[in-house]
């Protein structure tokens, strides 16, 4: 029996039960080998303890883990805080950073639902109403007209009625973390309304006014980075030690001596990696070092606070945290008097520092920032290093990180490289600026509380799994190793976790990795076999 779609009013319902519960049968179907719901991974419901302790009454999972208020007074106080934050979102002193886009989005949606079909979460969920890009926007819009514009009956006739209470706020908090902020929906909106921005602004309200954000991106994310220098917890000593180990390993593996330069004043390039690479995929920073050294680039890493970790989680939920980290990155570059900052394989770091921070970094802090994709493209295409494409003679597909491509316009450089060095390269469909998010965007890749990881593998990542399987449809056999190139740390983490979840390495020999690994794997001067065909 088809379930009745959730209505906007249902969000204010007081019942302590999730509004929806998804089963494999409800979801968008997938190609082989996941072509039947019974072949899909099973999906544990939220634990009873979580339901008793936290506000998890949206969709049977929980991203934020807000403790349940104990009394009506506590609930009322939280609603009052929400209202004061709502007001601040629309005041230039508090939100100059996004006020114009937000107001236009609030005041001009034609409710045509063109955007819905563009959203991978909505589609993958089997078109579940609460995941419609406009669902959370419509709630915020009604609240805006009622409480910010102080609309009366005429306004509610015009813009729609809404009931504000704690259950609505609690569900809205969760709902703001059911969007990857990929802005694919915004790309299709004929008016230019931006439902991704709405999720972003709601998250800001919750963080900046109510102090509510998932611990993975706030406490263990931006706060940890501002405290020790990296959200991995590595301080400058530890990161230097780790890089030393990596240099040794890579030298041995590649048969070429690799040494990473640290804190070189006046270097041409300050390379900033997502420090997660150093921990999880050491071959990536190692490969970068090898390529830059081989190409004769004058480059350095920085051991300044945040100077060795390009992540900037504030981008997803908090303008103040965002600006603080961006300034730390710029200060590290300024101290070393480098000519430019080059961002390693991390999509959100690219957009954060190159695009969004551009109107925060003033004077001598506005040091030029560049994508490693372009630098690598120039190295590869100018034949500064000798490459043998036959070493990459396996099927390769390329994932487009939203932040790098749709939101920054770096589309071709990485393609030029893979076209040159991967003879069996094939595109995913759609790709480039029309790509789908990996499903890990906006922090999801590092959020795994309760059963949230199951939700993201089943729902937000589903479209990407479909794309990957389709890209390799003519070579599914496990005897053929296949490579998903994801030049972004978060995307790579999400893709790794999904491949593991669906057992696609075992069943179909689908592997994943970055771009520099493919380049080094093709370098004539490097010992053959740089890419390990072993699951990590």
């Amino acid at each position: 029996m088809k379930k009745a779609p959730v209505r906007l009013d249902d969000l204010a319902g007081a019942g302590k039960r999730p509004l929806i519960h998804l089963e494999n049968e409800d979801l968008m179907s997938l190609p082989a080998p996941l072509d039947h719901p019974s072949k899909d991974h099973n999906w544990p419901p939220l634990s009873a303890q979580a339901g008793e302790k936290f506000e998890c009454f949206l969709d049977d999972t929980c991203a934020v883990s807000i403790p349940q208020p104990k009394t009506k007074e506590e609930e009322d106080a939280l609603v009052a805080k929400f209202l004061s934050g709502l007001d601040k979102l629309f005041v230039k002193e508090n939100n100059w950073s996004f006020l114009q886009p937000l107001l236009l989005t609030m005041e001009h949606c034609a409710k045509c639902q063109t955007c819905s079909e563009a959203c991978h979460i909505y589609e993958a969920s089997g078109r579940e109403e609460i995941y419609r890009p406009t669902f959370r926007s419509e709630i915020l819009r009604r609240l805006y007209f009622k409480y910010v514009k102080h609309g009366g009956m005429l306004s509610s006739w015009q813009h729609g009625a809404i009931t504000l209470n704690w259950p609505l706020v609690a569900r809205l908090i969760e709902l703001s973390y059911r969007c990857n902020l990929c802005r694919r929906c915004a790309q299709t909106c004929p008016i230019g309304v931006d439902n991704g921005l709405v999720a972003h602004e709601l998250r800001k309200l919750f963080s900046q006014e109510m102090g509510i954000a998932p611990k993975e991106i706030h406490d263990n994310g931006s706060m940890l980075q501002l405290r020790v220098g990296s959200s991995t917890g590595m301080n400058s000593e530890v990161v230097k030690d780790n890089i030393e180990f990596i240099d040794e390993d890579i030298s041995e593996k590649a048969g070429i001596h690799v040494e990473t330069p640290w804190d070189v004043e006046g270097a041409d390039v300050l390379l900033i990696h997502n420090a997660g690479e150093i921990m999880a995929w050491p071959e990536n920073p190692g490969a970068f070092a090898l390529i830059l050294n081989a190409a004769g680039i004058k480059w350095t890493l920085s051991s300044e606070i945040a100077g060795y970790d390009s992540i900037n989680y504030g981008l997803w939920y908090d303008d103040a945290q965002f600006a603080r980290v961006a300034i730390k990155h710029a200060e590290a570059a300024k101290k070393l008097k480098v000519k430019k900052i080059v961002l390693g394989e991390c999509g959100h770091a690219h957009k954060a520092l190159s695009v969004i921070a551009d109107r925060i970094l003033t004077g001598d802090l506005n040091i030029p920032r560049e994508s490693s994709m372009t630098l690598l493209r120039d190295i590869v295409m100018s034949d500064r290093i000798k490459l043998d494409p036959s070493r990459n003679d396996f099927p390769v597909t390329l994932h487009d990180p939203c932040n790098l491509v749709r939101l920054m316009g770096v589309v071709e450089p990485q393609r030029e490289i893979v076209r040159k060095i991967c003879p069996k390269f094939r595109e995913m469909e759609p790709h480039g600026v029309d790509n789908y998010c990996c499903g890990g965007g906006s922090g999801f890749a590092i959020m795994s509380g309760h059963n949230f990881a199951d939700w993201r593998f089943h729902v937000s990542g589903r479209k990407k799994i479909e794309q990957i399987l389709n890209a390799f449809a003519n070579c599914t056999d496990a005897s053929i190793p296949k490579y998903v190139c994801a030049p972004c740390s978060n995307c790579k983490g999400m893709i790794r976790d999904m491949i593991a979840y669906y057992n696609l390495w075992e069943s179909n020999r689908i592997h994943y990795g970055g771009l520099v690994e493919l380049i080094v794997n093709a370098m004539v001067d490097v010992k053959p076999g740089f890419i390990d065909w072993e699951w990590r």
Partner: protein
């Protein structure tokens, strides 16, 4: 009655103008926001527009000459505005309703323009033109609005977003353009024609005899025109900003004095966000907040 019709038309035109200008000025005067562009950006170099690329694809992009491809914007905007190209691409079934509706309105606007021009030039040579655009415009608008209305009433996908005003608005269009068409077509021999009516309107000649149905259409049409800029239907204004100031605003902060001044002004705002990690007290500026570290001094 003719006097009343004239007064209402002038008053409505004034409301339309003032409300549209107020809305546009309100958006234009908002502070410069952080960059939030969305690719493809059509004023990039033509070879980049093809794949949606930006100047970030160039090594040392800040040392390269900047390129603003106006023609790219015109090429994007013309089919978008005239033919709703985006809708054609992303929501074909809606396009078949929305395009006639919007194109019908354009034709009606063209009719008004042609009539006024004819009066000012003092010719009736354009009679066939404005007859054609007027009747076709009204017919397309009514057909499109009816299609949109039917969809809104029957498509479950639209249920959550639909408000009573959304229904009212479409009915309003159907009634207005239905009355205008019916009023004109049933006007009878005593009606001197649209050219004389517009001449009368422009010269305030109240001796023109306006048939009742046509007068009702004109009055309601005037009210509709006054109402549009007070609603989300003023997206013809919004769209300028959502495209030019947001989706396509990729202006880098490099050496543009005006931009730098606007950024500097933003950094002096004094926020009042209440979460403790922000450290806002209404006295500290945005720049001060951005340069304090809420984690310094906390446990390692």
């Amino acid at each position: 009655m003719t006097l009343a019709v004239y007064v209402i038309i002038y008053a409505a035109a004034l409301v339309f103008l003032i409300a549209s200008v107020v809305r546009a000025v309100r958006y234009a005067r908002l502070p410069l926001h952080l960059r939030w562009e969305l690719y493809p950006v059509p004023h990039e170099e033509p070879e980049r527009v093809k794949h949606g690329g930006s100047y970030f694809e160039k090594v040392d992009w800040w040392e390269k000459p900047t390129h603003f491809n106006w023609w790219g914007e015109v090429k994007f905007m013309t089919p978008e505005m005239l033919f709703l190209k985006g809708l054609w691409e992303f929501n074909r079934s809606l396009w078949f309703r929305s395009f006639p509706f919007h194109f019908g309105l354009y034709l009606v606007l063209a009719t008004i323009g042609l009539l006024i021009a004819s009066v000012l030039i003092g010719t009736s040579a354009l009679h066939a033109c404005y007859m054609l655009t007027g009747i076709a415009g009204a017919a397309l608008t009514v057909a499109g609005a009816l299609g949109l209305l039917l969809r809104r009433l029957t498509d479950p996908n639209l249920k959550n977003g639909t408000t009573p005003a959304d229904i009212f608005n479409l009915v309003f269009f159907v009634v207005v353009f239905g009355l205008l068409a019916a009023g004109y077509l049933t006007a009878g021999a005593s009606f001197p024609g649209m050219l004389v009516l517009v001449h009368g309107l422009l010269t305030f000649n109240v001796s023109v005899d306006i048939p009742l149905v046509l007068a009702a259409g004109l009055v309601l049409g005037a009210l509709l025109a006054a109402y549009i800029p007070l609603t989300h239907m003023s997206h013809f204004i919004a769209k300028y900003f959502t495209y030019h100031s947001i989706r396509w605003d990729d202006a880098p902060n490099r050496g543009d004095v005006r931009l730098a001044r606007r950024i500097a002004a933003n950094l002096t705002y004094r926020p009042t966000w209440a979460a403790p990690h922000i450290g806002a007290d209404g006295k500290k500026t945005w720049a001060e907040i951005a340069t304090t570290n809420p984690a310094s001094g906390t446990k390692k």
